[in-house]
Subunit: 649 residues, 3 copies
């Protein structure tokens, strides 16, 4: 659970006192208090102000900033400022800088300009963290900490420069012990890639054609590990110097480059930064222009709630359960970083806040207090405009009645299994450039949500015992551990697999016995062929259209449920069932809808048919109905205006 | 005014005697004279021929070339050859080469391979300029000079290599004096960007995510200044050694990377290179395929005339008036550098020549005499074909009656304000990737032209006293000087602002009081919100469709003229009026058309409704009607054939 | 002719024994024999296994692999492993690596990571070739050799690093002798590009704008020459050590970066790697989405057969005739390297095999035996699945009756002339970005094939005496030799030229007398203008639509056959005829169809009208009818099922 012990949703805001004149601080604190906020996150990015030259700290401003908020009864969330090493540090140690995949140094001048593997940077990261922690760790106004900011933002997880190049072979050596084992794991006999020493191994960029996927997979693991240990170093210092305060990190939307399960382990709870309109324009590359237009002013309901459900489930890794989380940065106006940045609809800020609560958020903290009048974010909105007048979002926050949003559980009976290693190997070799891992996952997630079902998005290693239905749309990398968990889960739950399940081993190879490897007995069959459908190509499974992907199975002791009726797989099984395991090989929205609906009935999970653009979510015994449409809708016996929420018991 | 004292339009041609055998020179000169040409521009790019090895000049060929033309009674325009430093110079001083924004050296092998900030290159530029000027400066055949060629072509304004890196901090130091003032101006408190010394400041490329817009803005100013001083060095030498000869430079179409107002100050008059078909295909990225197809063989009338009007107004900077100019290179056949290079329509060369005159050109000089039989331009046409037969354009030039095009003024009563600093800051942070500065400007310009109105495109610092209507579609960067000029202009003229007006201060920040900063009292209101509309999204202002951009205002003492009727800004003012100032926040072609039409009536500027593809332009008491359509049109009581001009009194 | 002395088609397979456990080798060999295969190609890429550390060879595994196959009566084709220098070699000599056109080193980690110009690599290439040749050159089981693998794959023909930079000036010096001759040939007077020494000449990449096309042309020749001599070194060693064995190389589809005629000279016969579905998705950028969808599961019939005809004609260079060839790698399932990789249709493998035979293949060797369970190709299919069960293609191969496909000649009466130098210069300056050399060639080729005509694709220097009709769609670079060959050919054959014929001289300039230079007397006319039509723009020649390109001629003693009826060329000749030479300036599928049909009648070449998706091909007195449609068709009196072949006498 998160730090708070509130009976209901609390609110916060991200503020940057250093961006405004000193005479505004008290006024802002009063306004924040009056608005009903509990938390104010400050000091993010402020390293150059804390330490203008090496080793000479200037705490005066921050002492005052913390004090002003504390005096007003607001709780302070402090950030380690490591997302922005100052100019003097970079000039002294340019080797801190990361290199992009094209071999170019990523220069100072914005943010996140560091390589997680840099020993030099790690030392400075620990140093500034300790300095802050020692000064503020026990301040009564400080409620908790955020480490750094948005790990991985701007493709910064992976660096291709000397620091990572030096660390990677050592990481491999500790993973594989002998070079022969690495050669075997990666299948380096292929294309004469055999290494005779760890020191021969480079980073997998700038190769003549695609690099070995096992090489890339381990590089992904390595880069993820660098973030994990980078953060652990900070957390360890904060725990030492700031007892009783929470530690979190603000993750970002669909970021895919590191294993969020591993990276979040050392945190007290998880936060994420929710930007619904930017998310739709910028991240959801698979969505059509029609969808992007329909939801341009609200974001797509399922893209938002998927992330809530993902981050709620993040710390369920290794036998745990989903937990409340924070939205550390909640969009409350327009963003500035997508190709198009429309204004949110009237009601969107309330809708997003309520939706966040319904999916398990304990705190929603808006970004940002006042719109910045300088630098990169002058076109990003805040609760206040540049001229300090309350902006549109401010009024929606003000109108919230927080007691309407009591603390409590999200009663999901359905789990959707997600795993970053599967994502890495899937997207490396998509075989159909239009079908990414996320698109495949979102087909199943969105279908469940359109049926009014609450979903926990969790890692296969979570406690799966409470679920009646478990959906694994894209578990393509299959470890022994996951197999074990899945076998166990089928004892009590219905289990649904999507295509490519267990197509890859832990090292990124294909099982010698083909798909599904040693999972074949569980699913009751084997792969015959997969088929990658170009745009315009569609095949049939009964009356259903199949697009993008078609996988055909040889049933051993499974029963064929559906069979292809056209194309090279005509007559071959598209969907098979053995015991509690249903395997769906065809990418077919209609078929998936009907199969999930049947499965929910079988698993005795209630289904609620909701119209397009309507979603329902349950928490603490209440049901929140959400209308994401730009028009009013009659639903569940009530008339909902455009872009609104309704709480039902 | 330009060098000429002719009572009417004169013609010229760009020729390269060094590209053909010596025995063609006299023949060509005779043909040029017979064709009615007055000027021949030569010696462009010919450095390696003038100075085959360092310090050893070979003037023989050029002596003869100048002499042959002079003997025939043709006036010679000589070019400094600095757009193409020779191979030996680059081998000796590779540090002359520019670097692109990706950090790659831009190699020898084409043209414009130099960094304007290179001290080494500057020395050689002065040296070759002086050598030429001393030899030909007082030759009776030499009428004037062109500096270099097409500054900025191929994205060469900005270099990201050591020469610019060395010069930029010094330039900043002289602009800001103290690093604290720079930090404040740029808002470097944001993202910990504070510098503790000028030497810490890099060029704004290869940053992890977008660099600070103020950093970029100053880098744009710096790079522009490098061109200004580079040219001033040449001009100073030419003035010393070649008294009585004009000095000009051939600017290019919509080039945006340097401040043409600043760079043209030291010239006698301005020239530009008009390539109507290439311009449409290559530069006008916002035009639809339908428009590109319709005008594929003539170019778009407004894109061409906008550039005429822009270059006519270039030297009106700082209290001056628009002036006659030259078209130094006029397309007279097909070009070779656009994705598609269609043949111009029959009549296009006459149409372009007449249009250039009508918009203030004193001289039109065709590019080029004979099509090149070698190297990069073998697929570019000239007045003569490869085989020396007259090409299609030749015949159209021959048929011109120059006395039909008398010298005189363009009687524009409407000014359109343009400013490169606004362009730089607008396009850096478009917020809607489809709405560039030029697209915004062209909406207003094209609307005025469709109403038969003559327009001066000028900098806000020009003398605005003669205009009845002043249109400022995109003045987003607002200086104290410009504000003063605008205030003064409203005393006698109607003033129309487009969206984003005064959104940025001189250093690229946003006013602390929000848009419009201290201009708020003039416009009578303040910004409430701007809205960036993705493709497909459209809102309403009365019956008008709004696309791309919608800006809503809080009227203080302005009167709301139009109000949004849909979307998040429903009920908010879209167009407001205070006194002589009308501010239009919505991107709406229909609304803009009606508002400009009303404003013209109010300002007593005559409107002439012309059909699609027809334009009228006035000069010297005559009106030139231009038909850019590929079909005949009945207009103004006369039947105009496809692609033709008609002179009316 | 190829190595085999079989009376009919033989089959083979590409296998990688080192990819599977030792205990599978005998089993696979038996299965291969039972399937009716004759050849097994092995040892490709296996350098690191042959020589795990420098100079220490490990032949044990390969000795056994050869022996196992030999014992089973299979003939072994061995590969030199030079496409994949091992890690230890690259670590020791990183200077072997090529650089891409952007100036980045192309790293170890996939394949083809070497610069053909590297003297260091050449030495190692000769060393490993000699080691293999000495060990296996006279083994009774070894039938022949493949050099390296797919020269040029992944854009590896041209390197922009130090090795090529060092070799290129020397190559130029030996071609031109004096720098003045080079300057003249390249037209370096243009843009001051004159060099005063060979050592000043760089590689033509990273120039500010497009480099001199003559510079690029010679660089293309140089890079092609590097491949030629690289291979000749291997071939010379193999000839010495492995007498009586054939030597071939597996070329790839439309690869364009080197002169296949020159590179294939030293081979016994030519092979190529046929991947019909990948070819369509990946290489045929000019094909519409409709076409890509229609043929997604079979590939496009003409794209496949064009390559068969191209490679059959490859060794006809310099006075020879087309010859049988091998398909060294024949797709037999899905590939993994295109954006979309659909399953082939039922029947496709049989169709491709039969089509290959009909176009002159003596041997078709499938890629690969068992699908790889590791590394980059895990999603590529083989004859066996990952789990060793026979995949779909296996069954089709098994059902083949090889005696149905007798050895013999392809009786083509029509030659299509092709030349890599024309391709290089055409594609460098397309002038219309949508009209590449291959697209232009394929218009003529496909038209002929739709008329049921067999075509030899040959270099102009081949023996043209046997052809009744010779089509030269895109011979834009015209040498004296080619002109001579064409003149001679018109004595007995009808000759058809496409646009841009003879527009460029051997050094890449344009003739001083314009197009067609000294060929003008043969065609009977001269160019007036060419016109590049943007999408949507179309003109008329009689009732025919013209798109993309229109070239108008001034007839001298030719007769105008067709005249443009619209556009700037209205009234100008579009098609002219003089004696046996017909010149077609317009890109017009309808016009080309009618003109080719008439020409075939005149040349007394039989025409056979075939429906869409049907093709006929003749060999050894038989006619193979091919149905590439996904539906059955009644044709030539027989009912053909979807995706099938029918042999007619």
């Amino acid at each position: 659970m998160t730090e708070q012990h509130h009976p209901h949703l609390t609110l916060g805001v991200c503020d940057y006192p250093e961006h405004v004149p000193r005479d505004r601080w008290e006024i802002y604190a009063q306004q924040q208090k009056e608005l009903g906020l509990t938390y104010v996150r400050i000091a993010e990015f402020a390293w150059a102000l804390m330490e203008p030259t090496e080793g000479e700290y200037n705490w005066t401003w921050l002492d005052e900033a913390v004090e002003v908020l504390h005096r007003e009864g607001l709780k302070v969330v402090l950030c380690t400022p490591t997302a922005t090493p100052p100019a003097w540090l970079i000039r002294k140690h340019p080797e801190i800088l990361a290199w992009d995949a094209q071999g170019k140094v990523r220069a100072f001048g914005s943010r996140r300009h560091y390589d997680f593997a840099s020993e030099v940077y790690r030392e400075h990261s620990r140093r500034i963290t300790r300095a802050m922690a020692e000064r503020y760790g026990q301040h009564p106004g400080v409620a908790g900490w955020q480490t750094d900011n948005e790990f991985g933002c701007h493709d910064t997880t992976r660096s291709y420069g000397p620091a990572s190049q030096a660390a990677f072979p050592m990481w491999l050596q500790s993973r594989y012990e002998s070079i022969d084992q690495l050669n075997e794991a990666w299948g380096n006999v292929f294309w004469s890639q055999t290494y005779s020493g760890f020191d021969q191994i480079g980073l997998p960029n700038l190769t003549v054609t695609e690099p070995n996927p096992s090489h890339v997979l381990d590089y992904c693991r390595f880069a993820s590990d660098m973030i994990r240990t980078f953060q652990e170093e900070q957390v360890s210092i904060l725990r030492e110097c700031s007892p009783g305060r929470f530690i979190t990190h603000n993750f970002m939307i669909f970021f895919s480059d590191f294993d969020h399960y591993e990276v979040s382990k050392c945190l007290d709870f998880v936060s994420w930064d929710a930007y619904p309109t930017g998310m739709l324009e910028f991240f959801a590359s698979w969505e059509s222009d029609e969808v992007k237009q329909k939801y341009a002013r609200t974001g797509h309901p399922d893209l938002i709630s998927f992330n809530h459900d993902l981050y709620r489930g993040l710390k369920a890794y290794q036998g745990g359960h989903p937990l409340p989380f924070w939205v550390m940065e909640q969009q409350c106006g327009q963003v500035n970083w997508a190709p198009y940045n429309p204004l949110p609809a009237d009601g969107a800020v309330k809708l997003w806040t309520a939706q966040a609560w319904a999916h398990g958020a304990d705190t929603v903290s808006y970004f940002r207090w006042r719109a910045a009048t300088m630098a990169q974010e002058v076109m990003h909105s805040g609760l206040l405009r540049h001229d300090e007048t309350p902006d549109r979002g401010f009024d929606e926050v003000k109108a919230l009645s927080l007691s309407d949003f009591p603390a409590g559980d999200v009663p999901a009976q359905v789990a959707l299994l997600h795993d970053y290693e599967s994502l890495w190997i899937w997207d490396q070799q998509k075989h159909n450039q239009d079908l990414s891992y996320w698109r495949q996952v979102m087909l199943y997630y969105s279908t469940l949500r359109s049926l009014g079902v609450d979903v926990d998005v969790v890692h296969p290693s979570s406690d799966l015992s409470k679920y009646a239905l478990i959906v694994a749309p894209a578990l393509t990398l299959m470890t022994e551990e996951t197999m074990e968990a899945l076998r166990k889960a089928t004892e009590h739950a219905l289990l649904i697999f999507g295509p490519r399940t267990a197509y890859r081993t832990a090292s990124g190879r294909t099982p010698e016995t083909g798909q599904f490897g040693t999972l074949a007995d569980l699913v009751g069959g084997k792969l015959r062929n997969f088929d990658s459908l170009r745009p315009g190509l569609r095949e049939k499974v009964d009356q259903y259209d199949v697009t993008l992907w078609a996988e055909g199975y040889q049933c051993e002791d499974a029963t064929p449920v559906h069979v292809y009726e056209s194309g090279p797989l005509a007559g071959v099984c598209a969907v098979m069932r053995k015991g509690n395991v249903l395997t769906i090989g065809a990418h077919s929205p209609g078929l998936v809808y009907d199969l999930l609906r049947e499965a929910l009935a079988e698993a005795r999970v209630s289904v609620l048919d909701v119209p397009e653009g309507i979603r329902v979510s349950r928490r603490s015994g209440k049901m929140l109905v959400q209308n994401f449409n730009a028009y009013g809708v009659d639903v569940l016996g009530t008339r909902m205006p455009a872009v609104s929420v309704e709480m039902l018991p």
